[in-house]
Symmetry: C2
Subunit: 555 residues, 2 copies
Amino acid sequence: MPHPLLDKHRPLLDGALNAIATRGYWSAFNEMPSPKAYGETAPADGKAAFDAHLGQQFSLDQPGQTGWHGGEQSPYGVDLNVQYPVCAIEALIAAGQQAMGGWQKIGADGRTGICLEILDRLNRQSFEIAHAVMLTTGQGWMMAFQAGAPHAQDRGLEAVAYAYREQAFVPAETIWEKPQGKNPPLVMKKHFEVVGRGVGVVVGCGTFPTWNTYPGLFAALATGNAVIVKPHSNAILPAAITVRSIRAVLAENGIDPNLVTLAVTNDRAATQQLVTHPAVKSVDFTGGNVFGQWLIDNCRQAQVYAELAGVNNIVIDSTDSYRKMLGNLAFTLSLYSGQMCTTSQAILVPAGGIETEDGHKSYDEVCADLAKAVTGFLAKPEVAHAVLGAIQSADTLKRVEEAASGRFGTVVLAPQKLENPEFPRAEVRTPVLLACDAGEEAKYMEERFGPISFIVKVADTAAAIALSERIIATHGALTAGVYSTKPEVIEAMTEATWRSKVALSINLTGGVFVNQSAAYSDYHGTGGNPSANASYADSAFVANRFRVVQRRYHV
Amino acid sequence: MPHPLLDKHRPLLDGALNAIATRGYWSAFNEMPSPKAYGETAPADGKAAFDAHLGQQFSLDQPGQTGWHGGEQSPYGVDLNVQYPVCAIEALIAAGQQAMGGWQKIGADGRTGICLEILDRLNRQSFEIAHAVMLTTGQGWMMAFQAGAPHAQDRGLEAVAYAYREQAFVPAETIWEKPQGKNPPLVMKKHFEVVGRGVGVVVGCGTFPTWNTYPGLFAALATGNAVIVKPHSNAILPAAITVRSIRAVLAENGIDPNLVTLAVTNDRAATQQLVTHPAVKSVDFTGGNVFGQWLIDNCRQAQVYAELAGVNNIVIDSTDSYRKMLGNLAFTLSLYSGQMCTTSQAILVPAGGIETEDGHKSYDEVCADLAKAVTGFLAKPEVAHAVLGAIQSADTLKRVEEAASGRFGTVVLAPQKLENPEFPRAEVRTPVLLACDAGEEAKYMEERFGPISFIVKVADTAAAIALSERIIATHGALTAGVYSTKPEVIEAMTEATWRSKVALSINLTGGVFVNQSAAYSDYHGTGGNPSANASYADSAFVANRFRVVQRRYHV
């Protein structure tokens, strides 16, 4: 008998299973923050729910609580002052392990049904979560809603669908009957139990506290593991709301809510104790190379799924849609002030310039025209603020200043500080564009997170493709792009990406951007270059999170 | 259009796909070494093919050959004197990388078809391979044939089936069409390319040079990787025959044969250079903890799939088939002189003895009766030699002597040296049984590979179950067993194995033995305890061996 929640949400699961098999467009959750989609009172209710957290203690009723901790600084300059429970690491781990037995026993169907119920619940909190994402990360409202709520929920559902598919391959039991010629056959009854590997820790990032957290969270949870969410110290609220809702749904369905807990700490040693604990069997991480590599080197007891830094790049060879190309790039470079792990950092342009439908454009013209396109795109303040959001961290602000100083290359477009009338204390910067030669590798060949991009002068297209491949193979990239009207160039770039293992966007000129990846259809990362050792979401992302324990006996 | 070899072997693939989904009994390859199954002349032809290798140079036409190396010592004392090509590691790796492009381009269908053709070819060489396995490992003839040929081929096919299933989920292309309200939809064409991760190295073991090699070999190969087979220095011939056949099938089908090569070396540094090479992205290993842990610690550039040592154990609580239980255990302990990674090493018996259909049996009686059962089972020399085979290594011979000295426990059954009339120089030993107390952990709680088993006196059944769980969680095990007439004991043992993550055999008294695992049905290892970090064969064994590289563009 299938679990009642699996029955209830079967269309959701079937839709996701079909979508990951066909990889066409599909979405379970409406991306428009409209009353029509979410109910007349949803926007106001969500805002009120968000406001109610401000200045309060965010109770979670977790074991081993020793105090409270907060301190999130909103990039919009809004006072948050939320305090979160600090709990002893050992208590959270022990409670998670304790809760795993019941979670195992309800089986893959039960776990899937409850995960779908959780996602449905989270979807109904989309406005509340979107405000939390916006105010902690500095994203613009539309992105905070879409990426923070429905798209993150889609990524979570995607992981649940992969986990379900892999677990569904394992029959609960079988009769094994081996013929023995004229003698009676050997007959064995066998049972196969899916068991989680242990406690999973999901380490969140400061820029996408739900979108980058839900895949690992739901992959680990759906496959039978306890999960401890360790949010970024400046983006706790979206994770805390998520964890509270998960705990509520678990408890409503007879599962020990301590299966999923929030680990907030102001203590680096406690975090290290958590991720290296022998009971922790998986760590999902999104963030910088220093801590990411530390995790890979030190969490030897766990599978580490890490999304790290990269140097995303685009090769421009030629185009028959010059203006649209520039417009597409301008949007990519501006969106959330380039604070996406998928934003292009290096744009590789032949020294001899490029051919366009509008005639030949020299390298310098391409630089100037791209600068103009960005400036033009951000000319209207309301567009600029909606697209740029705010700068998430002081480190990024500092990098923008350094870039503006010319230290990393010739400034083609200087950053501007904008005043946001709605959020007077918000730190808003327009993108910096720098020019440099391909030989100046120290300038552009490491991630400079934020609204900082390089237009790199390369000998010719072939050299640009070779450089792109080398950058990706050695420094990693989540995204690559190419613009060309020549099939042989696209072919060469395609083959280069097979070797360097990066997703390629070709001649994007319309309403799709290289830095966007769509759940169910686009693999986010390939797991095959230094920017990430795993992809959201594929079979490999879930298959090693559980083990099958069999038993057999004569019948 | 499907690849012609996939068409040709479609029933084989479909059979395997169905078998891994249902986990009932199925086999693609006949396990009886009979002329009826393999053709009238097959036994003689196979023997002749094997004999033709002896004293010869085994040519493979691989790149970078620098010399020849041999030196295999047959446990049966037969002179082999085969010489194998020694090739420069860099040359093998470069050639493998070079060959991967063509292997990628024929796609999952083509790779699967060619792998099936290879397995079919290897099956026709079963007698030749069986002689090679027998003479290099010391296995008895029947085991050498079954485990060395058809069962190994089944394990290879199983890996191909898993690899095919996972790759088949990835559509070659899709149209992604996202509605835009009243505006025209966004439409993207997307292509998804399955690419191997790099060169795979498969490190063979000295006891099962095909059975333990084929899963990793075919998992890596079918998912698009080049493979370098590094055989155990004393069991090269079965691997060399395998590699030569693979290279022949590849070449016949237009694939560069250097995709699969044999790495023979007498130089530890060369092996280390091979497995830590940046181009090597997976290492499959079966063998001891020292080198296995070295691989895990040092091959950080690769996924390491390692099957290491363990302390397999059985809890005896009670039985209603005392004689059959003893007979089943006697066979397990004797088969291939206990030189299986699945042989039970520790038999946990309550100090107060056990209840049987034949009345109460004290701990001492159980020890004596098991000793008698082994002695009785091996009483006829022809049975003894067929079952025991020969001792594979001098290290194992030494361990048997040490065990016989009483150093590891009270000798309940002393080993006997048997003379094999057919192979006068064969080293044959009957099993050693030792008795010790549960507290004497240093004696039984590490792997003592070979025909050495302990009957461990434990306070009671509950303590035995707890001890079993602790042994497995801390030292690992590929197999566990329990004998009990009480449902609550079986339940408690079952739950313990869910925590320690080991396959459990319950009340085996018939023609199935705890040390045997059947392809398609039994998971060999769980990947969840220290004896192995992966299982043959499941989705996790294949899903992370390839990556998906996508490209997309407007249409």
